[in-house]
């Protein structure tokens, strides 16, 4: 086994919390051969980034390697002298971080940061390295490879920066690159470009890589082998195809199953039914910049309308118009066929009650100083006038509704709950008002897939029980598939296409919808290859990039 590059044996890592060392990783083995790509997947808290960094012999502040060994090409990275370790980092092992925008130093030009490694490690002179950088930029299909390096990081878009960072990692031609969720922060259509670029360059130079992600579909495109982690333990490891086709462990199967949750669309309502909520020809602007252009759609009782689009497409602005936080400059918003005052301050208590909202970040949506009972109890008291025991009973009822035993949770603070539980409390607070219509603003995008699935199922059940109508804002098409009855696709403040779900996932489409839909990674390991072939290689470099990166 002479081609083994990295061996990790029984790696144990601890993190410091409240003056105590708590285990994060409880003994993980890992072997990586030269030129091989290993996918490391798991939900948040699985310790995948920690393992990735430990593979470089590096731990963050407040974290330490407490046992086991990390051996890179004959060097024991746990016990090596600092000098020796530093000589390896950046030169033979490189790192690509999650957020390129945050990981490039804002004070220096991109190319200066690129050449820093080769120059300091004595691999190339500054001039050589700069020329090499341009070559790498070209290979990674960055526009203007001659010139882009002389910009500052803030002058370059996210997708391009991520590729520039991959180029930087390649600057010393390392043997191993750690990719730590390199596409998580990007929009789906941009993600494709970065994935393709990364895969190609790793291929061209025969670099070994550890690819860390929480997205199964992504890792299926990139990795030769996949290792699944759960709370610091290894669940299983197998070659990619084998793992996708025949997962052995219960946990892995449940991860795989998330993507298959889909509920059938409800029948289309009669044409003359009054919609619960109707948005008609709404324009809106922030100051002088117009951000919404003639947006119209209807939401009928008991149905879910998913509003889909990438960041900046105006979906959240639409929600702000409906709630009245941002009064539209023109247009009408109707509830049950009656006009709603455009400014929320002018709406009656009952009108406010009928439209409720669930937020993306449950952390900022719940007052950290109030108990769960107070948070849910306030709308109960405010709208229903219930007090004392009646109020407490109603809160308990609502907690049961969201599957959180009241006696256990009613007196807790939000900080004592998990992310999924906080989101459930947010749902209960909306339910407490007994509304007709709820806006769900990216409610699952901050959650792990299994937890997100639980929330989606809960929302679906509540809809059936209470005949609720949802407007579901999301950028994730898997969520749309799972829960929507109708879909509204938005781009740059305009509705591009809308219709029942069944139609939306069947061609023909508006070209943008097409791009959006085809960009969602699928579990098939050949998906990316096939897609790129279908789109035509040249196309990718120009059309899509030009559109997304401006």
């Amino acid at each position: 086994m002479s081609d083994v590059l990295l061996t990790i044996r029984d790696l144990k890592i601890e993190g410091r919390s409240d003056e105590e060392w708590m285990p994060i990783i409880n003994g993980i083995d890992l072997t990586l051969h030269k030129g091989e790509v290993l996918g490391l997947i798991g939900e948040s808290g699985a310790g995948k980034s920690t393992v990735g960094l430990a593979a470089m012999g590096y731990t963050r502040d407040g974290v330490r390697i407490s046992g086991g060994s990390v051996e890179f090409d004959g060097v024991d990275l746990v016990n090596a002298p600092l000098m020796k370790k530093r000589a390896l980092l950046g030169k033979r092992i490189a790192y690509v971080a999650q957020s390129a925008a945050a990981s490039f130093n804002p004070a220096h030009k991109i190319i200066d940061q690129h050449t820093e490694g080769p120059v300091r490690h004595g691999v190339m002179s500054e001039g050589e390295s700069a020329r090499d950088a341009m070559d790498l930029y070209e290979r990674l299909r960055l526009p203007n490879p001659e010139e882009i390096g002389f910009r500052y990081p803030h002058q370059v878009s996210g997708g391009q920066l991520q590729r520039a960072m991959t180029a930087m990692a390649m600057s010393c031609r390392p043997d191993l690159i750690i990719f730590d969720e390199p596409t998580t922060a990007l929009d789906v259509t941009t993600q494709i470009e970065v994935l393709a670029a990364i895969r190609d360059i790793v291929d061209q130079f025969g670099t070994a890589a550890i690819y860390i992600t929480h997205d199964l579909a992504v890792v299926a495109q990139m990795a030769d082998r996949i290792k699944v982690l759960l709370k610091g333990d290894e669940v299983e490891e197998a070659p990619t195809r084998e793992m996708l086709d025949h997962p052995q462990e219960e946990y892995t199967r449940s991860l795989w199953a998330v993507r298959s949750f889909k509920r059938p669309a409800k029948p289309v309502p009669a044409g003359d039914a009054t919609p619960v909520l109707s948005v008609q020809n709404v324009d809106a602007s922030y100051g002088v910049t117009q951000v919404l252009f003639d947006v119209s759609f209807d939401i009928h009782q008991g149905r879910t309308v998913a509003v889909v689009g990438e960041s900046g497409s105006g979906k959240s602005t639409t929600a702000r118009c409906i709630t009245g936080l941002l009064p539209p400059t023109s247009g009408v918003i109707q509830l049950d066929g009656e006009d709603l005052p455009l400014d929320y301050r002018k709406r009656s208590k009952d009108q406010l009650r009928q439209v409720q909202m669930i937020y993306q970040m449950a952390d900022t949506a719940l007052n950290p100083q109030k108990t769960i009972g107070e948070i849910i109890g306030r709308p109960v008291e405010f709208y229903m006038g219930l007090r004392g025991k009646a109020r407490r009973d109603r809160v308990a009822e609502l907690l049961n509704e969201i599957e959180m035993p009241p006696e256990q949770y009613i007196d807790r603070l939000p900080s004592e709950l998990s992310g999924g539980q906080k989101q459930r409390v947010g749902i209960a607070r909306a339910l407490a008002a007994e509304p007709k219509f709820i806006i769900c603003d990216e409610v699952t995008s901050a959650l792990d897939q299994l937890v997100a699935e639980g929330i989606l199922k809960l929302l679906a059940r509540l809809q059936d029980d209470l005949k609720l109508s949802y407007m579901f804002i999301t950028h994730d098409l898997a969520t749309v598939r799972a829960i929507a009855d109708e879909v509204v696709v938005m781009k740059d403040g305009e509705v591009v296409e809308q219709g029942p779900k069944a139609d939306m996932f069947k061609p023909p489409h508006h070209p943008y919808t097409d791009l959006l839909l085809s960009s969602v990674p699928e579990m098939d390991p050949d998906w990316l290859t096939n897609l790129l072939e279908a789109r035509g290689r040249e196309n990718i470099g120009d059309a899509a990039v030009g559109r997304m990166d401006d």
Partner: protein, 331 residues
Amino acid sequence: MSSLLRIIAQRLLLGVLTLFIVSIIIFTAVNMLPGDFAQAILGQSATDEAVAAIRRDLGLDQPPITRYWVWLTDTLSGDLGTSFAQANFASFTGSETGGGTTVMAQIAPRFENTLFLAGVTALIAVPFAVGLGILAALFRNSAFDKGSNMFALTSISSPEFFVAYILILFLAVLNPILPSLSNIYEGMGFGERLQKTLLPALTLTLVVTAHMMRMTRAAIISLLASPYIEMARLKGMKPMRVIVHHALPNALAPIINVVALNLAYLITGVVVVEVVFVYPGIGQLFVDSVKIRDIPVVQACCLIFAAAYILLNLMADILSILSNPRLRHPK
């Protein structure tokens, strides 16, 4: 680039405007004095004619807006008026020309002395504090860091006169290395002047260093958690290079701000320290004038202090704008 110039022009304009409003506040405050200065000087037994004469002499019989305008235009042309303490004597003796000292003549040499003191302090304190802050950030959580933090907290908390008397006790009385009185006069040699200024300067240094050091340390440490610092470490860069090349350029804005803030604080600190060391600066003049209610001098000193303060804050503002690559290189 043009947006940068526009921002700077805006700040400058705002600074001038602020100074203008401050001058109104100072003038109004002074005019809220009960009764009349002329009366206050001459006492209850003064004849009406004498009071009226002094009023005319000092221009006190004009309406407030006229007096403000005269004061403002005079000030802008460098004429800060005549010190009341002397004016009183002049008009009392019936001299038409008024043999009093002008405020300008009183303030100018003292202002120079104060600038010298503040300059010496800044030259010692700024490099010392920033260096110490960088070291504390580099060796954070070590005994050195904790020790310097405790020292910083202690010296921030101590009143200037406490620090001053401690230094006098150890460096002037018990071990006569430096003089405890800073009797500076014109025509003094630079070396001697420096020696006499050293003790007040050291006092002020101790007072301002702590704050600057803590802020430098905090600014750098808050950056050390950022992904680009981790990236630099993962590129195999040495700790010193990580701090100096990667963290420091991004910490410049907060550091510049805190340096300017402390230089501005020197203005306040200078008052007490000058009194302790009998240093003939503008601070001491200010306190003396406050005690005898010599209004033109108080007014002028206030304006000078405020102007210096505004100017320093303005400079900090502009420098930290210039240190921000996002503003220097817009998209």
